[in-house]
């Protein structure tokens, strides 16, 4: 089973629409924004690294679907959002839940989401988790925070996103909803039904496809006849952009283009972010993945660490000196090889506080198990 899959190296610019691209979102970023974005990349990485280690030590239940090597997608898609915007992250997107809340100054809007403490509480299965740990890991959400609580069923949040945006539109709001999906999930029927509806009603649903080339043990070419999953967009006459998933600013540019287009009432977009899954599908799959994926493929796929790519850019732009860029260097390292010294202290500290919050939190009580099956009537 050898493939000619395009990996991140070929990521380019491609869209099915012919509308002119607006100014690049990156042009509006201040120096502080750049540093904030770097910090968020570190934090996303550190969160994952820390959990991988906890998991190895047997301290966590459930499965960890590492977002290692895919962090630029999360940071880049979220950085430009407004508080009123919605998201629906899935299994590989754990950092998204708190990244939505890390305040940048993009567009002078505050954003909102969950605190890192709440997300840690979820991972550790505590009562302070957003859903009191009734479902695992990424299955959390809260309407008041603009986050759809997903089920396990892949692509299942896209119709919900369409409903959220339809609702907002009726209220005269210009809310955008970003849904996250693996390339494998684009084969689900409901993906088609929902994007079709969003296209008909010009709903600002932006479907982010993290094309990491593998869906569990199934390579792209067995899940999709098109190498560029962005081509799925053509069936609906909506833009299908390809972003370099390793380049946070390319992801930001393309996301914000689609987001602003959506806000302007022009409808949904699909953004394929080319990337590569660093480890196994979940932590339980690391050993097998080492067998079903060639070492070459893995090496090549991990060769453009998003932290390295962004740092290089910052140095070129003169925002960081070479020495500053070198100071904290988790890039290119396996999670197990990194130490806290590889990360900025404030990042380590944010996570530390999150974990502390979780560990200080009580477990849910058995007595609440039959609560909240039904809600009280509206009135």
């Amino acid at each position: 089973m050898n493939s000619k899959r395009s990996v991140v190296a070929n990521a380019g610019d491609k869209g099915t629409d012919t509308e002119q691209r607006p100014l690049r979102a990156r042009d509006g970023l201040s120096e502080q924004d750049h540093l904030e974005i770097l910090k968020q990349l570190y934090l996303a990485r550190y969160f994952d690294v820390r959990l991988i280690k906890e998991k190895r030590r047997g301290r966590l239940r459930g499965t960890l679907y590492s977002s290692h090597n895919q962090e630029a997608i999360l940071v880049g898609t979220l950085y430009g959002l407004r508080p009123s915007d919605w998201i629906s992250p899935i299994h590989r997107d754990m950092p998204a839940f708190f990244l939505k809340d890390l305040r940048g100054n993009w567009d002078n809007d505050d954003r909102m989401g969950m605190s890192i403490g709440e997300v840690c509480a979820q991972v550790w299965g505590r009562a302070t988790a957003p859903g009191r740990a009734r479902d695992n890991w990424s299955h959390i959400g809260d309407a008041s925070k603009g986050i759809i609580c997903s089920t396990s069923m892949l692509a299942g949040t896209i119709p919900v996103a369409a409903g959220v945006v339809y609702d907002a539109k009726l209220k005269g709001e210009d809310t955008v909803c970003l849904t996250y999906n693996g390339e494998g999930s684009t084969s689900q029927g409901v993906f088609h039904e929902a994007i079709n509806f969003a296209a008909i009603h010009k709903l600002a649903v932006v479907t982010i496809i993290e094309n990491n080339q593998w869906a569990y043990g199934t390579p792209l070419e067995l899940g999709s006849p098109v190498e560029d999953v962005a081509d799925r967009a053509k069936g609906y006459d909506i833009p299908g952009l390809i972003a370099d998933g390793q380049d946070v600013l390319d992801v930001l540019d393309k996301t914000m283009w689609a987001v602003e287009r959506g806000r302007a009432g022009k409808g949904p977009s699909l953004i394929e972010c080319k990337t590569f899954r660093a480890y196994g599908h979940g932590d339980h799959d690391d050993d097998r993945a080492a067998k079903y994926r060639g070492a070459d493929e893995v090496e090549k796929g991990r060769s453009r660490d998003p932290i390295a790519v962004f740092k290089k850019y910052l140095v070129e732009k003169g925002i960081l000196t070479k020495a500053e860029a070198k100071k904290y260097s988790p890039e290119g390292k396996h999670a197990n090889e990194t130490t806290d010294e590889d990360f900025p202290p404030d990042v380590v500290d944010i996570m530390k506080k999150g974990v502390e919050f979780a560990l200080d939190s009580p477990l849910p009580e058995a007595s609440e198990a039959t609560k909240w099956v039904f809600a009280e009537p509206r009135r």
Partner: protein, 336 residues
């Protein structure tokens, strides 16, 4: 083209009663949205939503693509932000195409968010056999949903119950599957006045469709009328059957069932769905649990055979419950 009927002045059929409830709730809740296939321009396959789009506009009365999963999922998205939604399945049989979104997403959202998110949504659609619809236009598939915790499951049998329960469900904060027996939509004999005022019917309260002392039929939907007919036959022989019309299956009025059995000591559960794991079986299971000591005869059920509903009349009637089936089950119970 108004569906509004002057309060309490005329008798209406079930279809009109449902239409009326929809119009009134759309009026009352300016946020409410309806979504479904052909419900707008056409006014629905059965005309339940006729005039609705003219009155409330295409944004609030959405003609959806033929995409049941989308319809349910979008209803979840809208309702999770507090907007009441009515989602129509053109025939309740097609609900299978949106099944995952219902049982795994809608049903469990409140639970999974530990009460933070509620979904005021009603999925309603025409159901039931005897009309020559064949396997895909005759289903009463309520048991799938009764077995999926987090859903209300409702099936009225009279115009005023349909009216009052639909209102209650639309004002409830939970996803609901609302069965409208299409054979009852235009049934003349059951036309009635809708009580005036802001009439609603509570969930989880059964209705005594007939009082009796010798045995209890527990049923709902079209089977209420089959039981009534059987009861007339039985009465001729001096056997007085009580008929409990459940109206809502989830929540279920266990108390009404128990009270009736305390009096009659015999119970027959009737549903038109297949036997195995159907709701009639559930009634029998519960009766065991809480009314065993009052039983003078084995609780029994009358149901469809475990087959699809065939199209041609003789076959359709052979698999669905008949008045005779019910009558005979009752006789067996009484003669036990």
């Amino acid at each position: 083209m108004s569906a509004v009927i002057a309060e309490g002045t005329q008798t209406v059929n079930m279809l009109t009663a449902i239409k009326q409830a929809l119009f009134e709730e759309m009026e009352r809740e300016p946020g409410m949205v309806c979504i479904g296939e052909d419900i707008g321009i056409l006014g629905g396959a059965f005309g339940v939503t006729e005039g609705l789009q003219d009155r409330f506009g295409a944004e609030r009365v959405i003609d959806a693509p033929i995409s049941e999963a989308l319809i349910v999922g979008a209803a979840v998205g809208m309702s999770m932000r507090g907007r009441p939604v009515m989602a129509e399945m053109q025939f309740i049989d097609f609900i299978s195409c949106g099944f995952d979104q219902i049982v795994n997403n809608a049903a469990t959202m409140h639970y999974r968010t530990a009460g933070k998110v509620s979904l005021p949504m009603v999925i309603r659609g025409p159901s039931g056999g005897y009309g020559g619809g064949g396997p895909y236009h005759s289903q009463q598939n309520e048991a799938w949903f009764a077995h999926s915790p987090g859903l209300r499951v409702v099936c009225p049998s009279t115009p005023s119950d349909a009216y009052g329960l639909l209102k209650t469900c639309l004002r409830d904060n939970n996803p609901c599957i609302f069965y409208e027996v299409k054979e009852l939509y235009r049934k003349r004999e059951i036309e009635e006045q809708i009580p005036g005022g802001d009439y609603t019917v509570p969930l989880g309260k059964a209705r005594i469709a007939r009082e009796g002392s010798d045995l209890t039929f527990v049923t709902y939907g079209n089977m209420v009328y089959f039981c009534l007919e059987a009861a007339v036959k039985l009465a001729e022989e001096g056997i007085e059957a009580e008929i409990i019309d459940l109206r809502s299956l989830v929540p279920l009025d266990d108390e009404a069932i128990l009270n009736s059995i305390k009096k009659t000591n015999r119970v027959i559960a009737v549903n038109e769905a297949p036997m195995t794991c159907g709701f009639a079986g559930e009634i029998l299971a519960r009766v065991n649990e809480y009314a065993f000591e009052y039983l003078d005869a084995p609780p029994a059920r009358v149901t469809r055979t475990d087959t699809p509903v065939p199209w041609v009349k003789p076959l359709e009637l052979a698999v669905l419950p008949s008045v005779d089936d019910i009558y005979e089950a009752a006789k067996r119970a009484v003669n036990y």
